[in-house]
């Protein structure tokens, strides 16, 4: 009997979870952030139901500050695959002019955390797939694959439901919802190796290219559009950079690199001694910041 490879095992686990949710949950949605983990999730969803299309929609919570290339990629992907892609923007935040330059942590809360809660409430989704991985951050390392939220979308880390074998309990009361993380057990390396093996399309920003950037507080930030307020004396430099994670462009640090193929990225990643969330500016605030935000409803 052949032994499944490490990637085959992770793939099988994720597909099993995705099918369980589709079979048992009333109104599931798959969150789609356009990043590489989302690309893997989408690919797994297509495989899980083939020859059927995924029996749930995809939801992108747009902060309006995403890289332009991300939005283009999102729209092309949805069209090519014929899947239902919902977009949600916190219009109230837009009206109030909330932006990452002036509002710091409040921006993340209003345009991401609050927007996500509003979107889930608006459509009445009872289960939302997310691409969170346990190797990303310490508090995620302890989160279950099926993670429960009360009516105000808060997580109680001290009272998680026991999760035995692969017998996932999907029962919830009215108003409650579930976050489901099918790729909890994948590492960043697994993600890249799977993208290579399965030839999954990802946003070109992951590959090194010459891009206009400025350096701020040790982070390389791309000047993606004219809304970027340059400081006095700041002149965008053209550098060969790529991004290890994608989010709002003013909050996403790039790295100088010439890796322009998957193989080169994998080689860099394997050699890398920095874990990927370092380049997400919001995580460096204080020890335990991610856990605190999650208790308040951040995904």
């Amino acid at each position: 009997m052949p032994v499944l490879s490490h990637l085959d095992e992770l793939e099988a686990e994720a597909i099993y979870i995705i099918r369980e949710v589709a079979a048992e949950c009333e109104k599931p949605v798959m969150l789609y952030s356009i990043g590489k983990d989302s690309s893997v999730m989408l690919h797994l969803a297509l495989k899980a139901f083939y020859p059927e299309k995924p029996p749930f929609p995809f939801l992108h919570v747009n902060t309006t500050w995403k890289f332009k290339e991300m939005i283009k990629f999102r729209d092309e992907t949805a069209k090519k695959l014929g899947i239902e892609m919902l977009e949600y923007i916190n219009e109230d935040g837009v009206r109030r002019g909330i932006n990452p330059f002036d509002h710091g942590a409040a921006y993340t809360d209003i345009m991401k955390t609050q927007a996500l809660k509003q979107a889930l409430d608006k459509y009445g989704f009872t289960a939302a797939f997310g691409g969170g991985r346990r190797d990303e951050e310490k508090s995620r390392a302890k989160e279950r694959i099926f993670s429960f939220r009360n009516a105000s979308h808060a997580w109680d880390p001290k009272n998680q439901r026991p999760e035995m074998w692969t017998l996932y309990n999907t029962k919830i009361n009215k108003g409650e919802s579930i976050r489901v993380f099918p790729i909890s057990n994948w590492t960043e390396k697994d993600i890249w190796q799977y993208i290579r093996r399965e030839k999954i399309d990802i946003v070109p920003l992951y590959f090194a290219a010459k891009r206009p950037v400025v350096e701020r507080d040790g982070n390389i930030i791309m000047v993606d559009d004219e809304r970027f307020p340059l400081r006095e004396g700041e002149v965008p430099q053209i550098k060969s950079v790529r991004f290890r994670t994608l989010g709002c462009y003013p909050l996403t640090g790039g790295i100088e690199s010439t890796a322009s193929t998957i193989d080169e990225i994998i080689e860099e990643t394997l050699a890398s001694v920095e874990s990927e969330r370092t380049s997400r500016v919001i995580d460096n605030e204080a020890a335990g910041s991610m856990e605190r935000r999650k208790r308040e409803g951040y995904f």
Partner: protein
Amino acid sequence: MQKSKIGLLKFITCGSVDDGKSTLIGHILYDAKLIYTDQEKALELDSKVGSTGGTIDYSLLLDGLMAEREQGITIDVAYRYFTTDARSFIVADTPGHEEYTRNMAVGASFADLSVILVDASQGVLVQTRRHARICKLMGIRHYVFAVNKMDLVQYSENRFAEITAQIEALASELSLDSVKIIPLSATAGDNVTKRSSNMPWYTGEPLLEYLETVDVAADSSDEKFYMPVQRVCRPDRTFRGFQGQIEAGSLNAGDTVRTLPSGETANVKSIFVGDRQTDSAVKGQPVTVTLDREVDVSRGCVITKDDGIAAYGTLDASLLWTDDVPLEPGRDFLVKLGTKLIPAVVTQIKYAVDVNSGEHTPADRLSKNGIARCTVKLSEPVTADRFSVHKTLGEFILIDRVSNMTAACGVVEELYEKSVSGEDKAAFTDGVLKASGDLFEEFYYDVNSYNVFHAQTVTHTFGIGDEIPSHGKSYTYPDDLDVIVLRDKVAVKIRNRKVAALLSFDSYEYDGTVPLVNGRGFGVLARNDAEVKQFIAEYEASDKDSLPDLFGKWLSFVTYRKIYISGTFI
């Protein structure tokens, strides 16, 4: 020869608060430079504010949650990932305190191997016994006993021999299959990733080397195929595929399989692994399977090549209680077993098992983190087996019907009330036409558990001219009757208590002169052929959400049926 990779190893570490298990794993990650630098930086920062005053505390790598950092103990399972040249690992670091036994069980249910820490200065303690017992209960087959803190006993070979004897006694008591005992020191690094020069008398592998090479794949050469069905895939009218994960054996196109609990046989038409069509698939793969004939299969059913697998109505199981609300016999729950989710009642606690000593004691309730042997009565037969024989068909959870909490997990020890298989089930036949005889099922109210159950007591196949049992304990049918069996798309005409004709729906017409029931004997509220056709059309267009309303509109249970009261199980 090139070193071939063996599969992923999922293992757990367990030990009590002071055994140093977080330190052990922290040390493996640190030594092997398997942690990323920013986590290392965070670790140093955390250490400065922590109680250890400047020196690196490896356990901070793993104790993630803030509450735990404050208390200095591990209250929930933390998962860590690392890869060496030889293997990829997932380690679940689990809490050792008795109060968090259920969290430890979560980690154990996920793992193939357990690393149990034993303090060399203390030997096998009550908690060592508890940890080993929980791991065994949850199905772990491979054990490493890491005799830690050897530096505190001057690396004494004699002390190690004493502890080895204690461990061997425990392993024999619990019938542990594969046991490895390693003397080490997590803080000093002896026999963790490198062989220790302090213990030249130990000639075995250091811990990491053992974990890299141990083979945990079950001997699966003679396993037969089975797959619990997760969902039915119907992209259009021409395709009907059963999706699930193969839990044992292999499947090839053309194979003959049996469906449970319906007991039908069919041949495999096509197999997909994910989105790729293939001739065969093996254990562990997620597949979509199509068959060459219509079978009565939905989520919760099992497709198999193993004749030993069957459906049962009652289970005896070892339960680990995980809810704050204690169990009292007679309470009903939802049980999830395989992919089946149905109501069930815990009718009896046979005895409690002391989690530390293993002693059996009488009990009338079961509290959080307790273990007991219990009887579980299912509301309908479910495909199940003993945990030791077919693991996936022998493990289940109980869900509280009010709070929705996972109230318990259980493993099946014994099975009762084997369900009659398809060939022995009540049915009507005429040539190629076949219709199920579910209208002879008995419905009864069980006074012990306050639940309604159904049971099949008639197992006959009725051909043209055969007389039917029109009176049962819970049904009384008129002498003349039309039965429309929706599932099989066949109508059965009963005249003068005898089977007069079987007709496919295409050629059936209801003339309105005799009473009409569905396949389960519920009265159908249709007066003429047009209304019958409308009912059938609405049924075929329905899904699981609209079905209750549809049946509520068209069916009447009480016309020819009742529920009788029973003091004992059928």
